[in-house]
C-alpha cells in the first residue's frame, strides 16, 4: 500500500477515481465501539422508545394488554440498552460520569440525559404495571416516558451521524428517519408478537408502517449518500442491509396477516425485530467500513474542496 492510487489498483472493479493516501491507511479512526454492544444499544434504545410511546397511547386508549407489553418492552429495552452502553465503556465503573456535565453538543450526553430518566421512569412504570402499585402515578409517568421515548427513537441516529465517519455523517439528514422507522418497526414487531391479537392492531400497523418507513428512508439515504453509498451496498454492511430489507418486507407481510393467526404474529415479531436490529447493525458496519478505508474520507473531501475552490467565499454548508 503506497500513498497513491493503490486503492484503485487493489479494487479495479469498483468505479473509483484514483486518489492519494498515506500507505492506504485510514485518515480517521475507526470507532472503538464493540459489536454487539453498540448495535444492540442502538436497537434496544429505539425499540424501547417507541414502545414507551405506544404504551402511553395504549394507556390513554385503555388498551391494557398493549399498554402492558409496551411498558415492559420500554423498561426492558431501556435497561438492556443501558447495560449494553455500560458494557461498551472502556471504564464501566465511571458510567455515572455521563451525568457529570450536560453537553448540548454531545448527542451521547443529551442521550444519556434522556436515557437516564427514561430508564428510571419506564422501570418505575413497569414496576407499577407488574405490581399494580400506584397506578395513578404510572399514567403521567408513562406520558413522561413517552415524551422521553420520542427522543430515544432518534438520538442514536444523531449519535452516529455526529462523527467524522463518512458513512454516518454524510447521511445525517436521513439517518434519523431510518432509525425512527426502525424503532417503530422494532416496537411494533415485538408488540405484535407479544400482544393478544385483539389488542395488537396498532402494533401490527406500526410494524407495517415501520417497515415501509425503513425501506423508503433507507433507499433515500443510499441515494443521497453519493460515493459513500458504496459502503451501504457492498461487503458485510451491504449483505446485512439487504437481509434487513428482506426481513422488513416479510415482517410487514406477516403483520398484515397477523390479525388472523398467531404464527404470522410471531413471524412478524421475529422478522421485524431482526430487521430492525439488522438495520442498526448494517448502518453501524457501513460506517466502520468508511472509516477504515481512506477512499471515503479523501475523495469526497477532495471533491468538496475542489468545489469550494471554485467558489471560494462560499464554503459548502453540508
Amino acid at each position: 500500500m503506497s500513498p497513491g492510487d493503490v486503492e484503485a489498483t487493489r479494487r479495479p472493479s469498483e468505479d473509483r477515481p484514483p486518489f492519494r493516501s498515506y500507505y492506504g491507511r485510514p485518515v480517521i479512526k475507526e470507532p472503538t465501539w464493540k459489536v454487539p454492544d453498540v448495535p444492540a444499544y442502538l436497537y434496544l434504545g429505539g425499540t424501547a422508545g417507541s414502545s414507551a410511546v405506544m404504551a402511553a397511547v395504549a394507556g390513554v386508549r385503555g388498551q391494557t394488554r398493549l399498554r402492558r407489553v409496551g411498558r415492559l418492552c420500554a423498561a426492558g429495552g431501556s435497561a438492556a440498552s443501558v447495560l449494553a452502553l455500560v458494557h461498551d465503556l472502556g471504564r464501566p465503573a465511571r458510567f455515572l460520569n455521563m451525568l457529570r456535565v450536560f453537553k448540548p453538543t454531545s448527542p451521547l450526553s443529551v442521550g444519556s440525559w434522556i436515557l437516564a430518566p427514561f430508564s428510571a421512569v419506564t422501570t418505575a412504570v413497569a414496576a407499577s404495571e407488574v405490581t399494580g402499585i400506584a397506578p395513578f402515578l404510572a399514567r403521567p409517568a408513562s406520558v413522561v416516558g413517552a415524551v422521553l421515548g420520542t427522543g430515544m427513537t432518534t438520538y442514536t441516529a444523531v449519535l452516529l451521524a455526529d462523527t467524522a465517519v463518512p458513512g454516518w455523517h454524510e447521511v445525517h439528514r436521513e439517518l434519523p428517519f431510518v432509525f425512527a422507522s426502525s424503532a417503530v418497526l422494532g416496537a411494533g414487531a415485538l408488540a405484535t408478537a407479544l400482544t393478544p391479537r385483539e389488542q395488537s392492531l396498532p402494533a401490527r400497523r406500526m410494524t407495517v408502517l415501520g417497515a415501509v418507513g425503513e425501506l423508503v428512508s433507507g433507499s433515500l439515504m443510499e441515494r443521497r449518500a453519493g460515493r459513500i453509498s458504496e459502503a451501504y451496498r457492498t461487503g458485510r454492511a451491504g449483505n446485512v442491509l439487504r437481509a434487513a430489507r428482506a426481513l422488513a418486507v416479510v415482517a410487514a407481510g406477516a403483520a398484515l396477516r397477523a390479525g388472523r393467526g398467531g404464527t404470522a404474529a410471531w413471524l412478524a415479531g421475529v422478522c421485524g425485530t431482526a430487521a430492525s436490529a439488522a438495520t442498526r447493525y448494517g448502518v453501524f458496519e457501513a460506517g466502520r467500513t468508511t472509516a477504515r478505508d481512506p477512499y471515503y474520507t479523501v475523495v469526497p473531501q477532495r471533491e468538496r474542496a475542489r468545489r469550494d475552490e471554485d467558489s471560494p467565499d462560499h464554503r459548502s454548508e453540508g
Binding site: M1, S2, P3, G4, V6, T9, R20, Y23, R25, V27, I28, K29, E30, T32, W33, V53, V57, R61, Q63, L89, G90, R91, N97, R100, V101, K103, T105, S106, L108, T153, T154, Y155, A157, V158, A161, D162, T163, A164, V165, W168, H169, H172, R173, E174, L175, P176, F177, F179, A180, A183, V184, P202, R205, M206, G213, G287, Q301, R302, R315, G318
Partner: protein
C-alpha cells in the same frame, strides 16, 4: 442566534477559551506551527513526548512504510512522524508517489535517472481544533478547552465511551485498550502551566515544530510560505491555518510540501458538530413523525 452563538459550532472564532468560559484575561491561545520543510524525520518529538508523558511502547512492528514504524497517532503515540518517498519529474515537477515499491506489486522502473528523489517527513499531532469535535461530543466533560485554547483530556474523568474517537476528523484521539481511557496530545497542559514549552517542540532539533501564540505562528508561517515560494518551491502550502476552514482553524497547523492526504491528513476536514443543528432538526422531525405515526396507528381505535 447571534454570530457569536453560531460560532460555537463552526466558523471563525477569535477566542475559543473565552467561549469556553474563561475570563477575558486568560493566557493567549497557543499552538504549533509544524514546518515540515525542515523536518529531518529524527522522531525526537515522538520520543520526547513519550518520555514526558510516560507513555507506553506502542508495538515493535516493522511496518515497511519507509522509516515510519509508528504508523499513525494513537492513544499511546501523540506525535507521529510520517515518511513519504517520492520521485519528482524534473520537467513538470509533478510528483510520482512511490510508496514502498514492492508493497503494491508495482512494476520496477528502469534503472535510470528518472528525476530527483524526495523524502517527505512530517510530524503529526492533535490539531487542537478551534471547533474540536472530540470535545464537543464528549459526554463526560473529560475533554475540555483549556485556558490556553487547547483541547485536553482529563484521564480521571474519561469513562472510555469512545465517542471522541470517530468524532475527530483527523483520526487523532483513540482509546487505549489496556486501560480503556481515551488519550491524545495535551499540548503539555502541565508544562504550559509552568511556562515551559511542550516537550516535543523543546526537543525538535531543527525547529520544525514551532510552539507559540497562535497569532504569531500564523504570521511566521505566512512569512515562511512566501520565502519558500520565492525559492521556487511552489508546492509548499499551509494546512489548517485558516480560521474559516471546516474546523475554524487548527491550533496546530502545518506547512506541507504536498497534498495533505499524502501525509495521511484529510484534505478538507469539517467539524461534525457544524451540522448539529441540522441533525437535531432532522432527528426531532423524525422522532415526532415516529411518535405521530405510533399515535396514528391507534387511529380509529381499532382493536
Amino acid at each position: 442566534m447571534s454570530d457569536d452563538a453560531l460560532n460555537r459550532l463552526s466558523g471563525p472564532l477569535a477566542d475559543p477559551s473565552r467561549e469556553a468560559g474563561y475570563p477575558a484575561q486568560h493566557p493567549p491561545r497557543v499552538g504549533f506551527f509544524t514546518d515540515t520543510s525542515v523536518c529531518i524525520g529524527c522522531k525526537a518529538c515522538e520520543v520526547a513526548c513519550k518520555e514526558w508523558n510516560l507513555l507506553p511502547e506502542d508495538g515493535l512492528e516493522l511496518t515497511g512504510m519507509s522509516y515510519d514504524n509508528t504508523g499513525g497517532l494513537g492513544a499511546s503515540t501523540w506525535r507521529h512522524v510520517a515518511f513519504v518517498e517520492q520521485r519528482i519529474d524534473p520537467a513538470s515537477r509533478a510528483r510520482v508517489d512511490l510508496g514502498m515499491p514492492g508493497m503494491g506489486g508495482s512494476t520496477v522502473p528502469e534503472a535510470e535517472e528518472s528525476g530527483e528523489l524526495r523524502w517527505l517527513m512530517s510530524s503529526d499531532v492533535c490539531k487542537h481544533c478551534t471547533h474540536a469535535a472530540c470535545l464537543d461530543v464528549c459526554p463526560t466533560g473529560a475533554l475540555f478547552r483549556s485556558e490556553h485554547g487547547t483541547v485536553v483530556v482529563q484521564d480521571e474523568v474519561c469513562n472510555g465511551c469512545g465517542y471522541c474517537v470517530p468524532a475527530c476528523p483527523y483520526g487523532v484521539i483513540d482509546v487505549r485498550p489496556s486501560d480503556g481511557g481515551a488519550f491524545k496530545c495535551t499540548l503539555c497542559q502541565d508544562r504550559l502551566g509552568e511556562g515551559l514549552a511542550p516537550a516535543c517542540a523543546t526537543a525538535c532539533p531543527t525547529e520544525s515544530i514551532q510552539y507559540g501564540p497562535l497569532e504569531e505562528l500564523r504570521q511566521r508561517a505566512q512569512h515562511r510560505l512566501e520565502q519558500l515560494h520565492e525559492q521556487g518551491i511552489s508546492e509548499a502550502r499551509l494546512y489548517g491555518h485558516e480560521p474559516d476552514d471546516g474546523v475554524g482553524g487548527d491550533g496546530a497547523f502545518f506547512l506541507l510540501l504536498d497534498e495533505p492526504e499524502v501525509y495521511g491528513l484529510p484534505p478538507d476536514p469539517v467539524v461534525t458538530t457544524r451540522d448539529l443543528p441540522t441533525m437535531a432538526l432532522c432527528a426531532a422531525g423524525a422522532a415526532v413523525a415516529a411518535a405521530a405515526a405510533v399515535v396514528g396507528c391507534f387511529w380509529g381505535g381499532g382493536r
